[in-house]
Amino acid sequence: MSKRIPLIARDLKRLYTGFLLAAAVLFAVCSVLTQFNVMTLIANGGAFWAFITEDFLPPALPKASRIPGVLSSVVVTLALAMSSTTVAAVLAFFVSLFGSEKVSPFPRLAKAVRGFATFLRNIPALVWAFILFSSLGIGTGVGFVALCVTSFAFMVRAFVETMEDVSQDCVESLQAVGASFPQRVAQAILPSCLSGFLSWFLYCVEVNIRASTIVGMVGGGGVGLTLFSYIKSFQYDVALSIILLIAAMVIVVDQITAKLRRELLK
């Protein structure tokens, strides 16, 4: 009897088997729970295509008098994303200093700071927007605060991780010679982690460009609100051209941040 040599490492095989089983079970359970069936979707394919070809295509420009308003709403979205990320980054930098046990002057508090950030982060930006809308009213300022909260929490986590990844020798040796907390930050943390921080900041800008469009949809202003109002008034062909505009905006920003990131990590 010839024994077969396994072609795949045993623990990897277990991972794949487990993944496949979990996927199959979840698929069955969820399909039953939501009563979702692809077949109905495919059966309704005709209506779907009719919608796309008749209502959606071709893209139409909004009325000429509206075009400056649409463009300025794009600028509002961009400004919202950029300024909220920057404000959040500055705040997150100071808070994250207290979130790492090795850097913080109060190591006992580090866990609490991280826990707080985790709590803020796991609540989606739109939920924050709704909570804040119900207390502060609707407007761009509230969208700004909502975006700030989520990107602040995200960056606290990311910054703390960056600081812990970098070797702690510098901080320790500075501590040994009696450097104060601000000195440790300025001489050890900043030089070694700044490019990492900025790379996370750029990532956050990318995320916030999308998020500010979404927050705009529910009342934060900007291009999201414009799109939402066109969809609500059944002008799908105009909505399509605004979607194209949003896509172009996001792609351009992504290209710019990718380029900046390459420069930063040189």
Binding site: D11, L15, Y16, F19, A23, L26, F27, C30, S31, T34, Q35, F36, T40, L41, I52, V75, V76, L78, A79, L80, M82, S83, T86, V87, F119, I123, P124, L126, V127, F130, I131, L132, F133, S134, S135, G137, G139, T140, V142, F144, S167, P191, S192, S195, T213, I214, M217, V218, L227, F228, I231, Y236, A239, I243, I246, A248, V250, I251, L260, L264
Partner: protein, 280 residues
């Protein structure tokens, strides 16, 4: 890393200037020149943005105490509608999982088309990639809104809308994984006369499997939080419960729903941290 270089520089400078009691330069010379320019640019853009937005800070600040009041109200959890919230939450999780699984299959298919080393048709991979870049650039709620229009209310719109974005994401990341497979492997199989499809299924896909599993785990988290907010733009699920009860000043119910969303998101994150630690 930079800091290590910094410590070497003053040493050299100190030796050169041993005789004179001048100060030892502690500044690092090899620091990236680009960073200060970047910082200034970012700050300037942020200030310009704030000026452009023209936010009425006084009004916001005057209403700030209301935030405390709302949080206080939210903290008074109201469990009377728990069955409603639970069923909405289950629906949300199921939509997230279903869209993930469907997109996984679609993502492998389109990733195969988009990867340059599978079919060797540059035009095809270029077309696929640029189309999915467009899909990825538009935020998910927009797709869900459009799906709501053409499919009507219900889980179908949620699953289909989430699938658009998730498939686009998977296509890009899977194509990257496929392309990272060494060309020698493919060439060796090509020489044996294997067809393109059998090369893909027997060499490329198995090699990328561990990365596919990792991407799927990462995406589940995102999908859940995306799915939780979808309800707010009009689709069903727990987001609808949250926005509805917030707009109806039913803060207790909203607080419970938000707390549950947070707990589920946290659990998913923890599970994947565990799995990752075990296998990587």
């Amino acid at each position: 890393m930079n800091a290590a270089e910094c410590t070497a520089a003053p040493d050299r400078a100190a030796r050169a200037k041993q005789k004179s009691p001048a100060k030892i330069p502690v500044k690092c010379r090899r620091r990236n020149r680009f960073i200060p320019a970047f910082l200034i640019g970012a700050a300037a853009l942020a200030v310009l943005g704030l000026l452009y937005l023209d936010i009425d800070w006084l009004k916001l600040a005057s209403r700030a105490p209301d935030v405390g009041r709302v949080f206080w109200d939210l903290a008074h959890l109201d469990f009377s509608n728990l069955d409603l919230i639970a069923s909405a939450l289950v629906e949300t999780v199921s939509i997230a999982v279903l869209s993930l699984l469907y997109s996984l299959v679609l993502g492998v298919f389109f990733g195969m088309l988009a990867a340059r080393n599978v079919f060797h048709v540059p035009a095809l991979s270029f077309l696929t990639q640029s189309f999915f870049t467009f899909l990825r650039a538009v935020p998910t709620p927009v797709w869900v809104l459009l799906m709501l229009v053409c499919l009507g209310m219900g889980p179908e719109a949620g699953v289909a809308g989430l699938c658009v974005h998730t498939t686009a994401f998977f296509t890009k990341s899977f194509a990257q994984s496929f392309e990272s497979i060494p060309g020698e492997t493919l060439e060796a199989l090509e020489v044996t006369g294997a067809s393109r499809l059998s090369i893909f299924f027997n060499a490329v896909l198995p090699a990328a499997l561990s990365q596919i599993v990792a991407w799927a785990g990462m995406r589940l988290e995102t999908n859940f939080s995306e799915c939780a907010i979808l309800g707010m733009v009009g689709a069903g699920g727990v987001g609808f419960v949250i926005s509805n009860s917030l707009q109806g000043y039913d803060y207790g119910t909203a607080g419970t729903a938000i707390l549950l969303v947070f707990l589920v998101a946290y659990c998913i994150e923890r599970i994947f941290v565990r799995v990752k630690k075990k296998f990587y």
